[in-house]
Point group: C2
Chain length 148, copies 2
């Protein structure tokens, strides 16, 4: 499996912790429309559920995929969840659905420009996950050992 490409020159090291602390130090108390804030928060959590991440990843790697190809590529997904998640992503403007009215029908999915920028923004998180999965595994076994 190919994770989202991360050979972007963006790397996280010790200095990033310092940067992180620096960001936190400042405070930007600015007014934000509650409706917009709600949408932004929804975009943070709602766009990062399991299937959305996997589909975004698959389309990121493959570029364009038919429904059935996508189903085979995203292992474990049911037809219902694939349809449902694709429909939501299409509605949110992340995915483009191209229907070819042939018999049998052919439907191709790909990332929209918006979906591509989302993928780009997500690259750092992939990098973080790839670089820190061991730290998480250690933290878990340590916690479980101490807490029984």
């Amino acid at each position: 499996m190919v994770f989202m490409q991360f050979s972007t020159g963006i790397k996280y090291s010790e200095s990033d912790l310092e940067k992180a602390k620096t960001y936190r130090a400042k405070d930007y108390p600015e007014y934000v429309d509650p409706a917009i804030e709600a949408l932004v928060r929804e975009m943070m959590s709602g766009f990062a559920d399991k299937w959305t991440v996997e589909i975004l990843d698959a389309l990121w790697d493959a570029g364009t995929l038919r429904f059935s190809k996508l189903a085979r590529r995203v292992s474990g997904i049911s037809q219902k969840m694939l349809t449902q998640t694709l429909r939501r992503m299409e509605r949110d403007g992340l995915v483009v659905r191209d229907l070819y009215p042939e018999v049998p029908p052919k439907v191709e999915y790909s990332l929209s420009p918006l979906g591509l920028t989302r993928g780009a923004a997500f690259c750092n998180v992939w990098v973080w996950a790839l670089e820190n999965h061991e730290a998480v595994a250690v933290a878990r076994s340590h916690f479980d050992a101490n807490r029984r």
Copy 2:
């Protein structure tokens, strides 16, 4: 409400779409241990549910918060979900829990170094969400209008 600070110099513009396309063009077919892949994928989706994001955001902004302060800061969260989510984040090594054995008890929560780097990695996604919420809103209303 203060979103995660994003005055990092990292900005997304038209050129980022080009970059995104460039990333996608290359392919890195390398073997990954299935157990590690599963953990990495879990870290992508499981660490981005609603409450985890909100708690990470709150602790990122505030630095250190007591349980009750956190409860007031994360609007709408129930005591149960706050406890549950904090426990999971602590287990995953994202959050540090400091217990002061006084009466009444005092418990302080803060982000671990790992949690801070996660927050830093997430900054781009906040930037993306803040810059593109209107695009999403437009996409939705367009989709709803056409599909009825």
